[in-house]
Symmetry: C3
Subunit: 317 residues, 3 copies
């Protein structure tokens, strides 16, 4: 593997999950792979899980790890070519990226959608410049349109908890006070569409996701109907994707909050969320604290998805 940005980079998905579960049993078995190798983690945005789990994954593999927070102790970066740089930005990405590539063997990048320009976001302008100019293998630690380490961890978690061969998995929109990118639901759909599950997406009208991610998935605008018989409820907020409302909040309707009543519609489903989660907006205290909530084991699998991806990149260096 040279790049990790979406489900296709994993190839055979069943094999990838199997490899992840093997790694989970013995996470220090591959320490030789990372000897004298350096992982650079570049953050343009805040992070808790990704910061810790990816660093841990690199260390499990014997790597040296370096964390770089752009905007904290580094220089502000220009991203446009042709600009006369007489403002507050000290360095251009076109220099900064290959420079970062000089001092490491693998680069992880976090660069959220900025909601200023849909085309820039959906062309993954920053992530793709890293892929093009860094000279090193690059993996996404959540970019503008996808969060494939999260979705891979989600799939591992579903594999661990499922009670039937082909569980019903429902991705449901839920309300939130701020406009959030579509990266998590995009990647979750990207993965579920390739996995052996019965996948349904539910959200208010106007919140349709990009067809490149939704593909053939069933869309059900009535949340209660969608939740009926679900084995896994995956809640997430996102801002509108479709024009002319890209990046806008169309609803904060707390009737979509996942509550005990909503969970009662399901087949005793497990509750999932990528975290961080706004309690009593996305989900009530009762549901997230219930035995059916598997948000913590789901988060714990972030270490495993990251380690599987980095291991494969190391094997291919």
């Amino acid at each position: 593997m040279k790049t990790y940005t979406n489900v296709k980079d994993l190839g055979d998905l069943k094999a990838a999950v199997k490899e992840a579960l093997e790694i989970k049993k013995n996470r220090y078995a591959y320490k030789h792979l990372g000897e004298n190798k350096t992982l650079l983690m570049v953050f343009f945005n805040s992070s808790l899980r990704t910061r810790l789990s990816t660093q841990k994954a690199g260390m499990n593999l014997g790597m040296n790890t370096i964390v770089l927070d752009i905007n904290q102790g580094a220089w502000k970066l220009e991203t446009e070519r042709g600009v006369i740089m007489d403002g507050d930005k000290t360095e251009h990405l076109l220099e900064a990226i290959p420079v970062m590539g000089c001092y490491c063997d693998i680069i992880g990048v976090r660069a959220f959608a900025q909601f200023e320009n849909k085309q820039d976001d959906y062309e993954e302008k920053i992530l793709n410049q890293f892929i093009k100019y860094s000279g090193k293998p690059v993996f996404s630690m959540e970019a503008a349109t996808g969060h494939p380490l999260q979705a891979f961890a989600d799939l591992i978690t579903i594999e661990e908890y499922k009670k039937t061969e082909r569980p019903k998995v429902v991705l449901t929109w839920a309300p939130h006070p701020k406009a959030l990118p579509q990266a998590v639901p995009n990647s979750f759909a990207d993965f579920m569409n390739e996995a052996d599950v019965d996948f349904v997406i539910t959200h208010p009208e106007g919140y349709e996701l990009g067809s490149q991610f939704v593909r053939g998935a069933k869309i059900e605008y009535d949340q209660d109907k969608a939740l009926a018989g679900a084995d896994f409820v995956y809640a997430k907020n996102w801002a509108a994707y479709t024009d002319p409302n890209y990046g806008k909040i169309l609803s904060k309707d707390r009737a979509w909050t996942i509550s005990t009543e909503k969970m009662a519609l399901t087949n005793n489903a497990y509750f999932m969320h990528c975290l961080p989660v706004r309690r009593n907006m996305i989900v009530t205290d009762e549901v997230i604290e219930s035995p059916q909530s598997i948000v913590i084991p789901e988060a714990a699998n972030r270490e495993i998805s990251a380690q599987t991806v980095i291991k494969r990149i190391l094997e291919n260096l």
Copy 2:
């Protein structure tokens, strides 16, 4: 050891100091203990000594170390249950804490008193949530009411410098421009009351510390009398503890500043302070730069106290 928040967690105090002094002689002798173990250091507040010395202690023990500054590159955390999280706080401690626990073997936590609610501070609300919810051994890197790594380092230092079997140790309040927590004097009293020393506390009226820390210690409101014959002078500012003045500054009287004249009252005492110290408020330039000032060896022992604590936790994993 599973938790380290106060002197009792060390058990036999003489044995703990002896172990610390053994570690100091050969600090790389226990590197095998930390192999494939990860230390996570979580800071809700600023830190220099604790940041460096605890990281160094973990590395001495062969651990992987990860530093997380909440409020810098992570998410803002909600601490109250039941809140509808539609404000600026993105994540709840009730998720963040077990998530942090997923990616490490031991957690150090720094969370100062906030002086907003005495009960919250003195119940160690944040530290205790880490102990309760992280699923991993937790040690205090200075919490609301105690700084036991500092007090342990102080005791080690007194053991190294004392000239008599049972030295006189004076904890003296000193002026400071800002309201400071009682964590350091609390823990110092907590330790001195269990150590083989003649312990006296001096401060202006109104600055009484909590009785759970002071216990039977002698309180002398006349600083000059307290300093008479002292072998060690331990200066520190703190804000008022007793109601209704909790968290308030009652005095900035520089007559309490430790000066050459004050030190002349002692038995050629050593001067100690946990640092950071405000010069010419707490102590004059002359005293802190004098040969009797042992603030630097005291700070150096922070590495040793941290390593002793982490070693014991590792041995108990």
Copy 3:
């Protein structure tokens, strides 16, 4: 080597470059040197290259590395003696420096010129306090008047790319929107004056550098004349050094920007810059993206210059 602040600390310069090129071929050959040794990197200012390359260099040598950003998660530091510290600065450098020295074996320091007081800057007040009070070997990661890791990397790069025994190297001033220190041009001159090159400096009148760095170098006020026949063009902005204009911007004349037309005057010269660079102020997009631009390999050599310096310090511990 105990201290690294200027070219003289390297001794025989040809031998140093030779050693660097050997290290570059096999950068993990000296991992035993750094075992159980800790590198502390202290930043008073922003950093990308230095942060990453020096950390990488320490790791290549098997060291534990700790990064400390003063002003981010540490305490604000007072630098003047005698101050009554009742303001916003919590700790004095006179305590903070020896404390930092307690927890490491080698210290790298970044502390830029502040342009408040020329004498303070040119006496290297902060760097020299680290040298005097830390008790540990100190190297400059760019201080007020010099950036010797950069200049050493520059010399290594010139050695790798030169086509003639004694190339013509031109240091040219270029425009920039903000007042920048003289550290980089000072050190570049310091190194070039000791290297086997034909060294010319060009800048507008009023931008003369300190004679301790310029020494016998040729100064040519006409940029076009200076560039004629150049093998290497080293562009850099700096603010005025000479009184009464110390720290001031005297010109933002973009006629000094390095463009294709300017490069056409040279002997097909390589373009160099220490980065970060303001595109279309210092240099046009065309020139910095041309095959003659060697800014990235130059940056990559920062790892090598740092590793050579740290290796020599380790060998001398």
